[in-house]
Symmetry: C2
Subunit: 129 residues, 2 copies
Amino acid sequence: MEEYTHVFKTLSDPTRLRIFRLLLDAGKELCVCELVDSLEEPQYNVSKHVTAMRAAGLLKSRKEGRWVYYSPRVADGEFLELLSLAVAAIPERHVKHDRAKLRKRLKLREGGKCLTGVRKEHLLGKVSS
Amino acid sequence: MEEYTHVFKTLSDPTRLRIFRLLLDAGKELCVCELVDSLEEPQYNVSKHVTAMRAAGLLKSRKEGRWVYYSPRVADGEFLELLSLAVAAIPERHVKHDRAKLRKRLKLREGGKCLTGVRKEHLLGKVSS
DNA sequence: TGCTTAGTTGCGCATAGACGCATATATAAT
DNA sequence: ATTATATATGCGTCTATGCGCAACTAAGCA
């Protein structure tokens, strides 16, 4: 069962759960700096968390230049699929703030690609939605 | 999100995950001693774990005489429902042993009720199925 | 009124994990 | 080459948690 308890342990941290939900909602791969600006958590923490999530089989990563894009790895078997549905069913009010931050941050993309690093919240402006 | 991370943390322990799955599969409430004999874990540990799971909203309990029966509390919202489906989707081979033990143990019931405490595995015989 | 039994709980220990800080790696730009 | 930037990682610390043991509660029975 350790394979499965490991997945649950990975989702038992607030930052990691927020990351997973944000990636599920985004519908596209996100790079670390976009996650940092959306969650307003330190870069080294986000990096550690996504690394752990990848090890647990929850995320996959793709490197492009200096950037590393992460996305949910919902492939093998019903378990992960149903688990993702459960996470996606967490009521919206819990993820509203992160999603609004992400929306603003994604406007900095050009040609669908991330071209800048962490821009901190004061450069992104307050969340209005 | 703490409400949800708490649920994941609760399922991140092997014994607790086994308890949850066993209760989902059983389709009926089980008392602590039946869980102890099925899982072959110390009674005080099982007791602590089900208490934690109840606090996390995963189980409900019902006291009848000296016995306390536990069952999944899959009531409010899609989240728990989908999460239960995910746990139920964990491949059978991981839960086979526990289920076989439970089958044997349930034979000690009379009139659908548990009438004895922990009976240890040597009184239950080896799992044949 | 005790005794037995099913279950719970408090304590101490040992381990695991999350954070902050500093530093390292790797790729690109000048 | 050197510098800047995106991401990763090693280390020390602090907290959380699972376990074993022992004591406790509560319900039934002699």
